[in-house]
């Protein structure tokens, strides 16, 4: 071999060795840079109590999303009868549920006369089960994760667990979904301390319709008029605030309108909002409250309470009755808010009232009465 040839062979061998070393370096496990000790004790399982770690770990779990997507549509194809128990700090209710896809759902409180049964025709709100909006809202506000460690049996059926974690890593909700049908079998909502504040689930569940099942014939629905963007825009021209969303990540899921002469003497707009875990209803009626109406609210258990900087009529919101109904007048509209499964319904209501502040009482709006009130306070007659 000539001297140049030897030199060329040497250079080629050197470059080859460099390339091999480079590829080897790129493909190696960077154990020396990360440090093997960082993974000491790693078992491959997530500590269920370390919610902060879990929150920092991942975006939505694809398996959890798939389970919830299937669950949202399950009731549109699965008929069932069952007994469900709902518990919150106000007490426990057992409900007999009969569901027939395409017809609706009958809810009857156990032990109550059948005449008190509530019938929700399919499509009433169930239409949203098909477009996936509740799940979208849930994922907008929470991270959903599959939690196989929580899998169990509910009503004798194998249930797969999914959890919802909020942005700061707090576990807010747990869902158990029927492995075979996708039906939601149990749900738990938790407070900031990790305590269950609301639990609902089936005690018994039977698929299909028993031969003796009686489903009431569809009755006239006062809230039959579904409002889309155009309908909401029209309602706004009649004084309805008709917001697109409410404070606290509450997104609009549905809007309906009951014409005048059905629910009330004036049209009533019902907007249902949710953050994916809690639901809030806002009802708008053009009008005001007279002394007679105020007396009626008192007779229905309402008291005048301060929510933030504003006063409103409030029922509930106590430790024994956490759900609230709040009534106030904003501009020319009587607003009624119903919140029964939010973690702090009074805080939720207060934020909404602040967003649509009450008008002052008529006697307080004139300059003279303001001066008189102010003078009264200056001279020590007032608080």
């Amino acid at each position: 071999m000539t001297r140049p040839a030897v030199l060329a062979a040497g250079v080629a061998a050197g470059l080859g060795a460099f390339a091999v070393c480079g590829l080897a370096a790129l493909g190696s496990v960077p154990a020396t840079t990360v440090g093997a000790d960082a993974w000491a004790g790693w078992t491959g399982k997530v500590d269920a109590t370390a919610v902060s770690d879990r929150a920092a770990m991942t975006p939505d779990d694809a398996v959890a999303v798939a389970l919830l997507t299937r669950s949202a549509k399950a009731s549109s194809s699965v008929a069932y009868t069952g007994r469900a128990v709902t518990w919150d700090r106000s007490g426990t209710t057992t409900t007999e549920i009969t569901h027939l896809p395409g017809r609706g759902t009958v809810w009857l409180v156990a032990g109550a006369p059948t005449t008190s049964a509530r019938f929700s025709p399919d499509g009433r709100s169930g239409s949203f089960a098909d477009d996936g909006r509740p799940l979208t809202v849930l994922r907008d506000n929470y991270r959903v994760l599959r939690e196989a460690d929580l899998d169990t049996t509910v009503a004798g059926r194998i249930a797969e667990a999914v959890v919802a974690v909020d942005s700061d890593g707090t576990l807010d909700a747990r869902y158990w979904i029927d492995a075979k049908t996708g039906l939601l079998l149990r749900k738990e909502l938790l407070d900031a301390k990790g305590m269950v504040r609301n639990r609902t689930g089936f005690e018994t569940l039977r698929l299909g319709m028993p031969t003796n099942a009686v489903v009431p014939a569809p009755t006239k629905d006062d809230w039959v008029e579904l409002l889309g963007p155009t309908g909401l825009a029209t309602a706004r021209t009649h004084g309805c605030s008709c917001p697109e969303s409410l404070p606290g990540g509450l997104a609009l899921l549905e809007a309906r309108r009951a014409p005048a002469g059905t629910v009330s003497t004036v049209p009533v707009v019902h907007q249902l909002f949710s953050d994916g875990v809690a639901t809030v209803s806002l009802f708008s009626m053009e009008g005001s409250l007279s002394e007679n109406e105020n007396d009626g609210l008192i007779a229905h258990g309402f008291t005048r309470q301060q929510l933030g900087d504003h006063f409103a009529w409030v029922r509930g919101g106590t430790s024994s009755s956490p759900g609230v109904t709040v009534v106030w007048v904003a501009k020319t509209t009587v607003l009624t808010l119903v919140s029964d499964d939010a973690e702090d319904p009074l805080a939720t209501a207060g934020a909404v009232v602040a967003a649509f502040p009450p008008v002052p009482d008529p006697e307080d709006s004139s300059l003279w009465s303001r001066i008189a009130r102010g003078w009264h306070r200056i001279t020590g007659g007032g608080s």
Binding site: T86, E188, R197, G287, S290, D340, S365, R373, I378
Partner: protein, 194 residues
């Protein structure tokens, strides 16, 4: 161009003009920079005042105001609960008839000084009273109320339950209207250990 609106700017901002007059005024405002600026300023003031909450006056200020009233042995005039005939928007409040009648004479200079001082104190007190009393408007705007309606709260609560229970991942919920079954003890249940 029509004449500037002048004091009617305040009425326009307050919505106290008749519809036809308001239309004419707005048409003028659209073409008149001066009135437009005045209207914007009026609305800004009203909007700002609308956001002002209840204000507790400083105790020092209250003390001074009381001190101003103290030298006089006359009792502080009572403010009637309802608007008096002499109260007009625009600054006529508290202004009595000129002089004291046919036989009145001008007060001496020192007395006039005291009157001026008392007047200033009264104006200050009035301003404070407006703020303390809740200053959502400086004008005696009459709030026009819509017809009174019954809120039908129980019907609405049921409607909430019917709608919410149909939502995926929701319901059945406890309805406080009507039969609700036996109540459980008022204690939070611990989260089950996974």
């Amino acid at each position: 161009m029509s004449r500037c609106l002048g004091p009617r700017i305040a009425d326009l901002a307050d919505g106290r003009l008749e519809p036809a007059e308001a239309e004419r005024a707005l048409a003028h405002v659209a073409a008149c920079t001066t009135c437009r600026d005045a209207l914007v300023a009026q609305r800004a003031v009203i909007s700002r005042l609308d956001t002002v909450g209840q204000v507790d006056p400083p105790s020092e200020l209250l003390g001074r105001l009381r001190g101003i009233a103290a030298p006089s042995s006359d009792p502080v005039p009572a403010i009637p609960e309802q608007g008096g005939a002499g109260m007009r928007p625009g600054g006529a409040a508290g202004r009595g008839p000129r002089g004291s009648g046919p036989g009145s004479t001008r007060p001496p200079v020192r007395r006039r000084g005291r009157i001026a001082l008392a007047g200033a104190a009264g104006a200050a007190a009035m301003a404070v009273a407006i703020v303390v009393g809740g200053s959502s408007a400086l004008t005696s705007t009459v709030v026009t109320r819509s017809p009174s309606i019954a809120p039908v709260v129980d019907t609405l609560a049921v409607e909430h339950a019917v709608s919410a229970d149909q939502m995926p991942f929701s319901g059945p919920r406890i309805i406080t209207v009507g039969y609700a079954g036996p109540a459980a003890p008022d204690t939070a249940q611990p989260s089950p250990t996974p």
